[in-house]
């Protein structure tokens, strides 16, 4: 207790320091006076009395010093003193301070921004209870039919078997997406609906905000007209009406009862594409016939592992079940395996390497920033050597000196961190608004507590890292020597200049690595952009026409509706051609097994799969997809006429390598009633995206020959319309909308955008990484340039005297220029060599994110090295020119 009390008293002393100093002085004085008075009383002469008193008392200063040591906390006080002194020094050199703080702020800001992205996307646990126990379960398709496709969605019958036979999971549930049209509330609106088994919510352990979730018996056909709303949908469409439960909403002109509203953070499935974010959930309610479907794979499956069951055990069990299913149902299941993937990995899997690369990049930027600041500090501490030597001579310990230098850099780093936070705030805003739209969980990105703690930590570490080198350098200083030197003229700069050289070399090496990374990504994106998608996206507008699935009772009505729409649209001024496709390129599509002439008839799971698209006449010409031979679809390809098909060049080559494909017969496995004749061959189109490497094996059949798949009920579906226009396609978007609504006001237009936008959106993840890495590489280049420049100019000013001697001994300006340039370029060259070697090792990590470029692409390496060398020459030339123009007389007098 006493001890604590004393501590508080001492802490208090820190505040009243000055007053207590005055008091102590007064106390000492009164002590002295009393002593003298006693002496006089004892008969001494006043002078002698005073002398005696002083002798007994001893050194007043020593008394004060030991008194002070007792009074407060000397270490803490010294710290505060150091901070004050540091602050004063920094204020006295606003130029230095500004450059250092700005440099650190850029480095720390970049780190903070990227960390806040990584924190939200990779680090924060998913917003579910015990998310690490959640897994997605996929099919693994037979590689012969689906080369290069690792996972596949799941068929209902197989899912039901997995669920019934497995022991490893606490629960397993299937879900899907469907677009519904929200009607009965003014303009119809397409919304994204999650079709879920009743078990989903309990599996995720999610509770509703109000009302309840979907009950088990509501997952039966006929009783499924109940929905659970998402929080945002509830706010947007019902203004957060708490009485909503029990009310009806109208989807596809049918009434549904709202039974509950989920909490704000609940989002499932977590999707990359914001357009697909689910707005409400509805029971899946499979009919018995749907439950028996084994050969159509179109649902997703999520499951929760039982406590104590490892992913490996669950996988082993799934493997066992799959091989049993393969034997039981060879026709449908041969080659179809199952794989469990942790949910978090499923959500962020693809983007993870890119984010880690970016994290590495910003760490490099910060290292370069540290090196720059260390360099600046080094130059400054060296010019303070004399002052520091005096301090050492007066008894300042080595630790004390270290502390003083470090507290200064800590101040710098904290200021940099603060400014960096401001940079990061805007950076994050930019990233979220323009770059991260396709990142999962992008809504969670922000500067929260975790990020702030990270920034503080990084700032402190940065402060130490930047300060340690100069501080250690100082502590090694021989004070005698420093004291003897005249200011400015420093003979023993060998160590200092070696440290500086190391810093410059590492800066060059680091920024070279970043530039190479950025260069590789730029080359990849370039390569991707120059990939021929198979169509011409310019001047083409695309829009989705969404119709309720039950709107048309048969294919004939749907066919008539769409041909009416096309007819109307073609009359809009500015439209050159228009056509329809059920799935636009560069996205997901459907693969279907086909029976082809000349190919063996085998079980379905062994049939070759092709991309199947339903198109209308006019689609090829609107998209400028070249017709290589044969003919396009026309009005003669109608219901009741001979079935027609168009195939891609690759499909022709794969199926009938040395024959003319035109005239061959193909049958779609799901539509066995109609055999189709190949009437034409068209160019390959990239259906999966520009990165698609697999052969474009594509088959088109005409909308007019549409029918329900065999054995299934007819369901009408929406299509995408593409319109080629003479001028800017966006300018007639309104007229087109009116034309479509003229045919049927209930049709909902979705995603109206140009094909150019669609192409560029498909590259969004690549662009995200490339742009950010390029920005960081640019930053690194800038910082390294400043680093080289400041190191060389410092060295030139140091060597002024020496250069003066050289000039007076006959060195020409060109000699001086070369002297300085050679010094700078030697360092740069060393940095380049080290950087290239390290980059060769590290760039392999980028193999997964580059496209069509080798990670050791020599062109990139050479170009980047040249760029850096040129920049370095410029950075050295400025101080070199200053050296060249030195007047020998002035230089010699220079101290």
């Amino acid at each position: 207790m006493r001890f604590l009390r004393a501590w508080f008293a001492r802490l208090g002393e820190l505040v009243f320091k000055q007053r207590r100093d005055v008091e102590l002085a007064a106390e000492m004085e009164s002590h002295l006076q009393m002593h003298i008075a006693d002496g006089i009383r004892a008969g001494l002469a006043p002078e002698e009395a005073r002398r005696q008193a002083m002798l007994t008392l001893g050194g007043v200063e020593q008394v004060k010093e030991s008194y002070r040591d007792r009074r407060g906390f000397p270490v803490l006080e010294a710290g505060i003193q150091d901070l004050r002194f540091g602050l004063r020094l920094l204020r006295k050199n606003p130029g230095f301070t500004a450059v250092a703080v700005l440099t650190l702020a850029l480095g720390i800001g970049a780190n903070t921004a990227i960390f806040s992205v990584i924190n939200a996307v990779l680090l924060k646990p998913l917003p579910f209870d015990q998310p690490d126990r959640l897994v997605k379960v996929y099919h693994t398709p037979p590689q012969a039919s689906f080369p290069g496709i690792p996972t596949f969605s799941v068929s209902p019958a197989n899912f039901l078997e997995w669920r019934a036979q497995s022991q490893a999971f606490e629960g397993m549930t299937a879900y899907g997406f469907r677009r519904f049209t929200l009607t009965g509330k003014g303009r119809p609106e397409a919304i994204s609906v999650g079709l879920v088994n009743s078990g989903l919510f309990s599996l995720l352990r999610a509770r509703p905000l109000i009302g309840r979730v979907i009950l088990e018996d509501e997952d039966e056909p006929g009783r499924d007209h109940e929905v659970v709303l998402s929080y945002s949908f509830w706010l947007e469409h019902f203004g957060g009406d708490r009485e909503i439960v029990g009310k009806n909403i109208e989807l596809n002109a049918e009434p549904f009862t709202v039974v509950g509203v989920m909490k704000p953070g609940f989002d499932f499935p977590i999707v990359r594409n914001p357009n697909l974010r689910v707005q409400l959930w509805k029971p899946m309610a499979w009919t018995d016939r749907e439950r028996a479907v084994r050969d159509i794979h179109n649902y997703l499956v999520v499951a929760r592992l039982k406590d104590g069951v490892s992913l490996k055990q669950a996988q082993a069990e799934l493997d066992g079940i799959s091989s049993r299913l393969m034997q039981l149902y060879p026709r449908d299941d041969k080659g179809w395996g199952a794989i469990a993937i942790p949910l978090s990995q499923d959500i962020v899997g693809e983007i993870r390497p890119s984010l880690l690369i970016l994290l590495g990049a910003v760490a490099f930027v910060l290292l370069i920033a540290c090196a720059n600041v260390a360099n600046l500090l080094l130059a400054r501490t060296l010019s303070r050597r004399k002052e520091i030597a005096i301090r050492a001579a007066l008894g300042a310990g080595r630790g004390r000196l270290l502390q003083q230098v470090l507290s200064e850099t800590l101040l710098l780093a904290l200021a940099g961190g603060l400014l960096g936070l401001i940079f990061a705030h805007y950076g994050v805003e930019l990233i979220v608004n323009y770059l991260a739209q396709r990142l999962p969980r992008s809504r969670e990105i922000g500067l929260d507590g975790g990020v702030l703690a990270f920034t503080l930590g990084v700032s402190l570490v940065t402060g130490f890292a930047a300060g340690l080198l100069p501080a250690l350098r100082l502590a090694k200083e021989e004070s005698n020597q420093a004291l003897k030197e005249s200011p400015g003229q420093v003979a023993s700069d060998a160590v200092g200049s070696r440290t500086r050289s190391v810093l410059v070399v590492s800066e060059v090496a680091l920024s070279l690595m970043l530039l190479i990374g950025a260069g590789l990504l730029i080359r990849s994106l370039w390569a991707l952009r120059s990939v021929n998608p198979g169509f011409d996206p310019h001047h083409v507008l695309a829009m989705g026409l969404s119709i309720p699935p039950t709107k048309f009772t048969g294919p004939a009505q749907q066919i008539r509706f769409f041909s009416d729409v096309l007819e109307r649209v073609r009359t809009v001024p500015g439209v050159e051609s228009a056509g329809l496709n059920d799935d636009l390129p560069l996205g997901d599509g459907s693969h279907e097994p086909i029976l082809a002439e000349g190919w063996p008839v085998v079980p379905m799971s062994d049939l070759p799969e092709v991309d199947v698209r339903v198109i209308s006449p006019g689609y090829l010409s609107a998209m400028h997809i070249p017709l290589l031979s044969g003919r396009d679809f026309d009005d003669s390809d109608a219901q009741g006429r001979a079935g027609a098909a168009l195939i891609s060049q690759s499909m022709a080559k794969q199926f009938w390598p040395n024959e003319n494909a035109i005239g061959k017969h193909v049958t779609l496995y799901f539509y066995p009633q109609l055999t189709r004749v190949v009437v034409g061959i068209v160019a390959d189109v990239k259906e999966d995206g520009l990165k698609q490497k697999r052969a474009a094996v594509e088959l088109y059949f005409p909308l007019a020959q549409l029918s329900a798949p065999k054995g299934l009920e007819w369901q009408s579906f929406g299509m995408d319309m593409v319109i080629r226009t003479a001028q800017n396609p966006s300018s007639i978007a309104v007229a087109l909308t009116e034309a479509v609504h003229g045919v049927d006001p209930e049709v909902v237009l979705l995603n109206v955008r140009t094909m150019d936008d669609l192409v560029s959106a498909s590259l969004s993840p690549q662009r995200f990484t490339m742009l950010l890495l390029a920005v960081f590489a640019g930053l690194a280049l800038l910082l390294a340039t400043i680093g080289i420049y400041s190191a060389i100019s410092y060295s030139v000013s140091r060597r002024t005297h020496e250069i003066g001697i050289r000039i007076s001994l006959g060195a020409s300006p060109a000699d001086v220029l070369l002297l300085v340039l050679r010094q700078g370029m030697m360092l740069t060259a060393m940095g380049l060599v080290i950087g290239i070697i390290t980059a060769l090792v590290f760039s392999r990590l980028m193999a997964t994110v580059v496209y069509d470029v080798k990670p050791s692409d020599p062109l990139t390496f050479v170009a980047v090295a040249l760029l850096l060398a040129c920049v370095a020459v410029v950075a050295c030339y400025i101080p070199a020119r200053r050296a060249m123009r030195l007047d020998a007389v002035v230089a010699l007098r220079h101290e």
């Binding site: 008091e23 102590l24 009393m34 008075a37 030991s66 008194y67 009074r71």
Partner: protein, 113 residues
């Protein structure tokens, strides 16, 4: 003369100060020093470099309190007085000290015999 005197034994100064204040009442630093020296029969010399920090420590621990006052010959001086806690501390430390000396005395007696 001073070099013949003993320095105050470590740890005993605090007790001396407290005891002095107990017997003499409020006193200034100079007075305390003189009193200790006199009581020791001028065998001890109080090092002022340790006196004032010791006073500060006692004050921080709450055993003594200080206030500015006027000395006998009309001079401003800082007066220290014992607090209630200080009084208890004197008793406690006195007891401890007596025990310590008794034990030491027994050791020394054994040596002799």
């Amino acid at each position: 003369m001073p070099d013949e005197k003993l320095d105050v034994l470590q740890g005993t100064l605090a007790l001396m100060i407290l005891k002095t204040l107990e017997t003499m009442g409020p006193l200034h630093g100079y007075g305390i020093a003189r009193r200790i020296e006199q009581t020791s029969g001028d065998l001890l010399s109080v090092n002022y470099g340790t006196l004032y920090p010791a006073l500060l420590k006692l004050e921080q621990e709450g055993y003594i309190a200080s206030a500015w006052g006027v000395s006998d010959n009309n001079r401003r001086a800082k007066y220290y007085r014992l607090t209630r806690a200080g009084r208890k501390q004197v008793q406690r430390e006195t007891r401890e000290w007596e025990q310590t000396t008794a034990i030491l005395a027994r050791f020394l007696a054994e040596e002799k015999s």
